[in-house]
Amino acid sequence: MSDAYGDRGNKDASITNPKGMGSRIPEASGESFASPGGPFLIGENMTAGYGAGPDILHDCTIAVDQGEIAVIVGPNGAGKSTGMKAVFGMLDMRQGHVRLDGEDITGLSPQDRVAKGMGFVPQTSNIFTSMTVEENLEMGAFIRTDDFSDTMAQVYDLFPILKEKRLQAAGELSGGQRQQVAVGRALMTQPKVLMLDEPTAGVSPIVMDELFDRIIEVARTGIPILMVEQNARQALEIADKGYVLVQGANAYSGTGKELLADPEVRKSFLGG
């Protein structure tokens, strides 16, 4: 029997427009409370999944402290991106807590977390393709009511190519430039912590090196960065802290150097 609630009829673009449609966001209580101690941002013992679906994360812990770069690596389907989304409140948390700057924010919606100072760059569709680069940055600063022109100038300093292309539609840019727009957009809120989901996905090795340099530059300005990366070796080299996830659970963790030196990690994830 065919699925009555399936995707039939949704491909008729003359009546429906699924392009750009959002994902379901779990209901949030909107409550946060003080919970001092611990790292700056931590997703602690998270067990989470989408809607009523199966658990994808199992007792998974990810954290980043002030002035650090924390990197999450692991095989495909290990739940790296899911872990990031869980920290951002886009998954239904069954167990565990998310704490930011001494505050328990498990009950907050993603919008509220943005207001609390979290910046998130998703892996895909991370720019407004039909809007200009400048409009993308303006949208990044949407929650700010003060004058954000100095922040925009900082972003243009960090990514000079964006200033050149500021009146061009972001969708017309190259892969590397799009990623710069995406990171720039997230920086516009002046976040207290930046979360990047595979910022180097689909860009050439040269552009990748450049992006890594820029990310280190951002980290030097004092913003802690939590990052998911496919290029495990390169990412662990710049990481203060590394997490290896396997099937939604922590397999190994330690400093970047420790993980690079760990023979088990080398054998299973770094190709010897």
Binding site: N10, S14, F120, F128
Partner: protein
Amino acid sequence: MDFLNALIAFANFVFIPGVAYGSQLALGALGVTLVYGILRFSNFAHGDTMAMGAMATVLITWLFQSWGISLGPLPTALLALPFGILFAIGLLLGTDRMIYRFYRVQKAKPVILVIVSLGITFIYNGLTRFVIGADDQNFFDGQRFIISAREFKASTGLPEGLSFKTTQGITIVTAIIVVAALFWFLNKTRAGKSMRAYSDNEDLALLSGINPERVVMITWIIVASLATIAGVLYGLDKSFKPFTYFQLLLPIFAAAIVGGLGNPLGAIAGGFVIAFSEVTITYAWKKVLVYLMPEPLEPSGLVQLLSTDYKFAVSFVILLIVLLFKPTGLFKGQSV
């Protein structure tokens, strides 16, 4: 050969009515295209939203007329229009709160919302007829013509008359103002940009701190205003009859799709394409041709390609041609 008279006949019977009708369709299509771009479904209830908004305006116009309030040469309906818009805003926000929101929260597939809007169409449709009846209602007052055919003939001495109705003038002027305001809003204001951002990428809009419920609310407010203005202008120009608004749905959707769904500029262009196709194909060209042709070649028939009874077929055929050869519409259908 009488080129001047041919031109006047053309302007009188084709150009001016076409521009006025095109403006009305464009305003309607803008509402449809905004819902498609931002709420991601085709709102079949749009025609009946126009009817509801126009109905409220008609009732308030009658009230004002009974109080003896008038705008002199302009129709009193213009004074009642803001109240009609407020009614339509309340209606759409209430409908959204009670019905659409339920599906939006669950991220229901757009096709489900299309069917939901069809149900709402029938409810609005029934309500309109229940309140004001199914018959023609006249609510026009004020001066009928800006230029009347008789005055034109007298002042120019030409045999062919040109008339320009007040309602046509109001339609065109209002459409220009509304379209300019809408484009300014979408491209220059923070709220307008947030609507475009939400249309482009909902999740990222959320990550930027844009409140989706607020975007949806602003969208319904704009759609209600556009629908009421289009409905009242159409009602003033022709007459207010609930069923015609349901029928208007076809040319309005044709306009939006021809222009490229989700593209406001396309909606306007599409409105004029549909309007002029309808008018030129159903107009009896004999009069113009008699002026233009040398006597032996003058047509004896009416030179009317299609009876006006079949005018909806025109929208349908254009729609089919566009969907067959350029499915994204004349202007690239893109997110608003």
